[in-house]
């Protein structure tokens, strides 16, 4: 015979533990597959009506590389050893930062359709924006490898610093995206502002030119710019076979991961309110 207490107990078991509905999204397990799916769908939508489709992600940096190369060597008379490899590496890395951060910063707003109607871990859309920029980045790096091979660049053991620089670049891009995307939802100025920062950043970062072209009294601009720091050390280790200074690498790494940490904190704080403004 079942007593009413048994019934109550059984009923009490089935619904499980009490939880705050705004935290329930984090209990879902298929996190990774969600990020991947969003990134792939993003990708598909982006190239859906184009003939060349995905090839554009290679064509784009290659054309800019060609353009910058012509302008820099013929018009500006930039003289930098191993300039093709120097330039392509810089363009490809900048391109990732540019694409990743601009999509990342706008990702919450771009996905308002889902985020305003369904509960899900909101950082997923930021990660997926970055992942889709990352796919382009990987293909561009393959093009770079071909160029390094074609120009007979001698890869030294210093190349072991390069993965660390890539990690720093990813951390930095992710950090900026997490930091600004929830603010962008509330203040649309962030979009315009970030666009300007990127355009100014392109000229203020030694991409076309070398940090050595920057006069001593302006050099601080380079050292305060995390992307510049990453680029300089990437070129040293990959293109020139030189070891970047340990202290410099340490500062760059701390810098990038500090911004990532800040981004994570700000995102955590602001994400609950995101749906109010979408």
């Amino acid at each position: 015979m079942t007593t009413s207490a048994d019934v109550a107990e059984a009923a009490d078991k089935r619904p499980g533990e009490w939880l705050d509905p705004s935290t329930r999204s984090r209990r879902r397990s298929n996190y990774g597959s969600l990020i991947l799916q969003f990134a792939l769908k993003d990708f598909k939508i982006r190239y859906t009506h184009s003939v060349l489709g995905y090839t554009w992600s290679v064509i784009n940096p290659v054309i800019f590389f060609g353009l910058y190369y012509i302008v820099a060597t013929n018009f500006l008379s930039v003289e930098i050893p191993k300039y093709p490899a120097f330039l392509l590496l810089s363009v490809v890395m900048w391109n990732f930062f540019f694409e990743g951060s601009s999509h990342g910063v706008g990702s919450l707003l771009a996905r308002a359709d889902v985020l305003s109607k369904m509960v899900m871990p909101r950082e997923v859309v930021v990660y997926s924006a970055l992942l889709s920029a990352g796919l382009t980045f990987v293909i561009n790096l393959l093009v770079l490898v071909v160029l390094l091979w074609a120009t007979g660049t001698d890869i030294q053991r210093s190349v072991m610093f390069f993965p660390l620089m890539l990690a720093n670049l990813i951390a930095l891009t992710l950090g900026v995206s997490l930091l600004l995307s929830p603010i962008y939802v509330r203040f649309h100025d962030i979009g315009y502002l970030w666009n300007i920062v990127l355009q100014v950043g392109f000229w203020m970062t030694p991409i076309l030119y070398s940090e050595l072209n920057v006069p001593e009294k302006w050099r601080w601009i380079v050292w305060w710019n995390p992307v510049a720091r990453i680029l300089v050390d990437s070129r040293r280790s990959l293109v020139y076979g030189l070891y970047p200074g340990t202290r410099g690498v340490l500062i760059t790494t701390l810098y990038s991961f500090f911004i990532l940490g800040l981004g994570v904190l700000v995102f955590r704080r602001l994400q609950a309110k995101v749906a109010d403004y979408l």
């Binding site: 769908k41 109607k117 899900m120």
Partner: protein, 254 residues
Amino acid sequence: MAKVIEMRDIYKSFQIPHEVHTTLVERVLSIFRPVSYERLEALRGVSVSIDEGEFVGLIGRNGSGKSTLLKLMAGLLVPDSGTCRIRGTMCELLELGLGFNPELTVRENVALYGSILGYPKSELAKRIEGAIDFADLDRFKDVKLKSLSTGMHVRLGFATALQADSDILLLDEILAVGDSEFQGRCLESFEEQKRLRKTIVLVSHDLSQVEKFCDRVILFDKGQVVDSGPPAMIISEYRDLVSESMRSKAAAAD
């Protein structure tokens, strides 16, 4: 009876859209101006608790706070004060469909949104088929969603949500769109959900459906719960409320 949703003393307000300062400049300038923007008090001290297996209807005029409450239950919004607690898995279907992407096909949409809703990986394919089948969109499986009608959209949304097989289902105005055949099927599935002792919270303006299906109805007005009880009683109370406000408006016009 075990409670599965408990909302206690909930307050929630929004800034009315045209008053929202969307640019930093406006925001900065507003510091120098007397604070003029209004706050819309969507919910003012609402307490609601819902038992396992209950089928509850939320009714009230537009802007009475029922949809806001549903979003708070879903965890999409957080209250200014008060506590929300839920038990068990939950699936929300708010405002016409799930926010499907028009550029993706029917199947891709179900796959993506099914993943968000937590379809288990092992059953993903089966559930996607199940949803498309229920929505009766087999023929349009590989058609982009933008080519489908609004009704089909809603059908697919409901079908996708049902396949999530959650303990609690939150539904906002799903009966308003969709032809009578689909409505019939919805109602059938409501019966099924009831048999499975699932909890359903439904926001609707279709009073006859509410009366037919809900075990209990909660009436909202101006961000507060007016009354809660058996459908017939609460619905007539709602009708009185509406006609009274029309009378007082007419009186004011005279």
